[in-house]
């Protein structure tokens, strides 16, 4: 999903050739770039954009699943779901921190999200309608996210790579949590299995869109690839995801909603049907059913919490002042 963060990224940079060559030599030698290291402005900007959009996706992504915490069907599922949504908040936090090492504050990034200037992954503008959606989101959406994120653990920027390592470690339970829900549904009654199939039908195509549109042959000349911010093409990762998911769906006894899906012996992978990129762009640009609601919620949360943050800041200031005057009095 996070390759969506690179859509429209401005990799333009104005440093001289010697500087860029020295930087590229470090990248090619697989050295990690650290916060205070010299780096091209374009590299910094591209990273800020990608990491912050990745963070925003985690935060907005809390909404569709958070919507089911109060209605989870058992106490075990409730605890697991709450822990998972909490993790997403934590992952947003790790990622904001990684972006902050590049000289942008969390407050600035939040403002960009709330004003609509920054985007987040299109998948979270699809609603979670039934409990089975919680299964499908864990299985497919987290599955797709993990495909992307494992690669990002090797990203050239140190703080981002380290955040991704922590996130991948923690997320290993997310996909299993979702798939286990799907297993329970598929081993259950006829109506439970129908819920599972319906959720797969609705989440399959949006999950494929998470990898972003095909880049065609231009991908290897892509600046993000050269800087090793991105390491695989969108199509390569999407294919990997499909190849992993099809047998998982078969195990569940569910049908992938793509009549053109078939095994290609030559490429040792699946061919898939046409992805509706018009839908993708429509949702990215704000016309999904939940776009407005997701942002409005976030703005409300930000507004409602402002007095609390102000109070905590004011109290800290008072405390510092008191300590200072106590020190003066003691002298």
């Amino acid at each position: 999903m996070y390759s969506q963060g690179l859509i429209g990224a401005d990799g333009q940079t104005h440093e001289d050739a010697a500087f860029l060559a020295a930087f590229q030599a470090r990248i090619d030698a697989e050295q990690k770039i650290e916060p205070n290291d010299p780096m091209p402005e374009g590299y910094r900007k591209t990273l800020v954009r990608q990491i912050s959009q990745h963070a925003h996706s985690e935060i907005i992504g809390m909404q569709p699943e958070g919507n089911w915490i109060s209605r989870a069907p058992s106490l075990r599922r409730k605890a697991a779901l709450l822990a998972k949504v909490q993790d997403e908040g934590g992952h947003g936090l790790y990622l904001y921190s990684a972006a902050e090492t590049l000289g942008v504050s969390r407050e600035e990034m939040t403002e960009q999200l709330l004003s609509g200037a920054a985007k987040y992954s299109s998948i979270f503008n699809y609603p979670a309608l039934t409990w089975a959606d919680i299964g499908a989101i864990g299985w497919l959406v987290d599955g797709a996210a993990i495909m992307n994120q494992i690669v990002l653990c090797r990203c050239s920027y140190g703080p981002y790579a380290r955040a991704m390592i922590r996130i991948c470690k923690e997320e290993s339970f997310h996909q299993r949590q979702g798939y286990e829900i799907m297993i329970a549904l598929c081993n259950g009654s006829k109506e439970q299995k129908e819920l599972a199939q319906d959720a797969l039908n609705r989440f399959w195509w949006p999950s494929l869109m998470m990898f972003g549109p095909p880049e065609g042959d231009s991908v290897h000349s892509n600046q993000s690839m050269i800087w090793k911010i991105k390491r695989f093409s969108n199509d390569d990762l999407r294919d990997k995801f499909i190849n992993a998911s099809v047998p998982q769906a078969e195990k569940l006894g569910l049908t992938i909603p793509d009549s053109d899906l078939k095994w290609n012996e030559a490429k040792q992978g699946y061919d898939h049907g046409e992805i509706d990129w018009d839908e993708f762009w429509r949702v990215v640009k704000g016309d999904g059913i939940c776009n407005r609601e997701r942002l409005k919620n976030r703005r409300r949360v930000d507004r409602d919490g402002a007095w609390v943050r102000e109070a905590a800041m004011a109290h800290a200031q008072k405390r510092r002042a008191r300590m200072a005057s106590a020190r003066i009095a003691a002298e």
Binding site: E34, N36, D37, P38, Q86, G90, L93, Y94, S97, E100, S105, R106, E107, E108, E111, A163, R166, E170, A306, R309, A312, M313, H315, A316, R319
Partner: protein
């Protein structure tokens, strides 16, 4: 208008007895006590913690990457500081 930034803190965690504190990440908090709480709630959710340090990010003094050669190159040639520099016959055994 942009909201005032809440101070940033670096979090160091001792995962087990006998290990040293290791950088885990950062958090935002208005003061030291809340920073400790936030560090605990964010970074020790999977039993990773025995002890936590929090340090205001602005209080950390870091070496400048520009000085990298001056700071760290000179030691590279002092190979006599490493055990493999010295030749001891094999039949002496482990030393």
């Amino acid at each position: 208008m942009s909201e005032a930034a809440m101070p940033l803190w670096e979090v160091f965690i001792r995962a087990r007895n006998g290990l040293s504190h290791k950088h885990a990440g950062s958090i935002h908090a208005t003061d030291a006590e809340m920073a400790l709480h936030a560090a605990r709630d964010v970074y020790t959710r999977r039993g990773e913690g025995q002890s936590i340090w929090v340090v205001r990010s602005s209080d950390i003094v870091a070496s400048d990457p520009v000085d990298k050669d001056m700071m760290f190159e000179p030691t590279a040639s002092k190979i006599y500081r490493h055990p493999t520099f010295y030749e001891i016959p094999d039949d002496v055994g482990n030393m």
